[in-house]
Symmetry: C2
Subunit: 425 residues, 2 copies
Amino acid sequence: MRISLIYTQSFLSREAQHVEGFAKECAVVTHHRLMNAPDGSGVIVDPDSKLEEELIVRPTSETIIWNTYRDWISSYRDLPLLINQWCNVVRWEMRTRLFLRTAEFLWQEGHTAHATAQEAIDETRLMLDVYAEFAEKWMAMPVIKGVKTPNERFAGAVDTYCIEALMQDGKALQAGTSHFLGQNFAKAFDVKFLSENNVEDYVWATSWGVSTRLIGGLIMTHSDDEGLVIPPKLAPTQVVIVPIPKPSPEIGEAADKIMRELRAKGITVKYDTDMKKRPGFKFAEYEMRGIPVRLAIGERDLANNQVEVARRDTKEKSSQPLEGIADYVAQLLEDIQQNLFQRACDYRAEHITAVDNFDDFQAVLDGKGGFVSAHWDGTTETELKIKELTKATIRCIPLDNPLEDGACVLTGKPSTQRVLFARAY
Amino acid sequence: MRISLIYTQSFLSREAQHVEGFAKECAVVTHHRLMNAPDGSGVIVDPDSKLEEELIVRPTSETIIWNTYRDWISSYRDLPLLINQWCNVVRWEMRTRLFLRTAEFLWQEGHTAHATAQEAIDETRLMLDVYAEFAEKWMAMPVIKGVKTPNERFAGAVDTYCIEALMQDGKALQAGTSHFLGQNFAKAFDVKFLSENNVEDYVWATSWGVSTRLIGGLIMTHSDDEGLVIPPKLAPTQVVIVPIPKPSPEIGEAADKIMRELRAKGITVKYDTDMKKRPGFKFAEYEMRGIPVRLAIGERDLANNQVEVARRDTKEKSSQPLEGIADYVAQLLEDIQQNLFQRACDYRAEHITAVDNFDDFQAVLDGKGGFVSAHWDGTTETELKIKELTKATIRCIPLDNPLEDGACVLTGKPSTQRVLFARAY
């Protein structure tokens, strides 16, 4: 199932909040033909090919999905319905940043339709949990699950849930979103169903997505000045074996044995047989590529029945016995995965700062950065004023937020809970 | 690796033949913003968002690939280089046809760079063979490997190789292409390399692709009035078990045993436990979906230790002993795969007609259709005239074509070989 790349802009007009939102910065197709320039200088747009109605390159697909769902849904028996597509979308960006903010990006977008509000809300929360689990268990990137303020909500959503991560430079990254859309798109596109009790009602909806931005998040969460640091669970090559100073039959034999043992455990391993590069060059190269574990084997190591093991995350090296090396490496990969996650959790813990006045608020943002936990009076006006003054936005209201009485950090008006502010990508 | 969806149209101007060719019918992006209409009727294009240089949505990616290769290639050590991407492309089509010709389609496009012409030619032929093997061995769709005439060549190619299939309605389908691009794109984008002997030269290139059009080819090669017929090797579900008249513990137990045996052989199987639909409805449904083998089991079958086996391709039914049923089904799936291929080969053999005069040429096209094998004087002028008169194009000059003296079917001028004409999708 795939929904088309280009659709008429009139679709966008259907859901009023949707069009009020982000959807205006997009690539607009107005013509369908180029022609040779009369002066022979190349090609120009053929003015005769102007389209009657302009098309836009999809910035997201809710409108065309719901225009299609109208034909597919008429009864409770057609529900629930889930369509997921992996595709590219285009959003016009003034300033782009590799992996984090690009005019075209690849993502996965899921769209569901339900008979009840509760089922749709459950689905929204379920996908938020799926995204959070992937971020933490696989990417070793801790995230805060929360809900967006009305101002930061997806255009057309009733509630936008999100996972927010913190990069090593103290800036936040929205890493995934899951939207409860209520009946907004169903009403805009007239998608009704007949319930089991023969009552007609509009369908309830969700949508959710993560993008190649996660790759940027992974890089900026773990990497260091030597290059990439990739969590073992996602590393295409988990272990590399480097012969010292170069390949020999004896080292090759030992490497083969290690590779067999590691592969039997499902660990990916490469033996570097390049004769031309020196070990130091190789070490730097594999560090740059973020390979979690490096084994170095020389003739002297073999004589001592040992191997040098270096881990990418801490750069610690140690000599380990060849006997049982596969078990040692398997455990080490788990330790690295855990250490990366813990290190990122520690960094984040140090960079969530509770503040109670605006001077401190600004000082933290200009100083160590990270999340600022502060009271807010709940109005969009205040939120926008703070953004204007500090460039910080409310990243989310955490799901497990404790309620406490307080005063808004800007206006001093009463507040019932702290929210998380940060400068963000 | 992924190359962007949108690029500036000036890229297209670089390779003169490329821009002379197909690339003019494309989606042109001229603006980057919509705005609310002053009358509140919806959204309109914001005139202030006009782009300084128009962008086009990629119809193919040679130009942007070669603009990138210039930065990547400087020495023979950088060669050969292969980039493959799965992506969507847009070509403006006046008349669309589901799966065969759509404005947006998904494809795989490969682009290689080589140090020598021979290596590039070998790559071009290798990929042609890969495509042909997939079409015949997996899709059971026989194809003719050939080379296109200059007029039908890919814009910018030195030679375009293709696989051509024949649909059941007698129309040909270009199912995949592989292009030897010579040094054309390297010259247009100034991509040079220093050889092992320190000589500077332009890089040699290929590109090749197949698209979702293959799905259309599969459907139109095998299906019938009852619905899809899917070759067993590509069927997501190869076997379905239908209980007669509905599920029971005894039938379920027998089905479980059969499923275990089939799955042990790597065969995908589904047991239909739906209580609400009748067997006749299920039979028609699975025929429509093209599931290669259907097993029906009733109480009487169990009493006789047998099962009814129906094959989708011929619709033949027979009773087979339960004992050894998995072996029987495994062999039957192979037979169906082979039969579908043979049936398509037979159909094609009956629809390649050698003709020696233009009356016969037209009569065959208007009658039984298919490929017409005829002499052609080798000129684009004649080729276009024949297309104008008959709507038939030269699909290819088959690779294994025998040379023979003859006279052009239109002009009577001398010719050294027959070529294949057909009306095509």
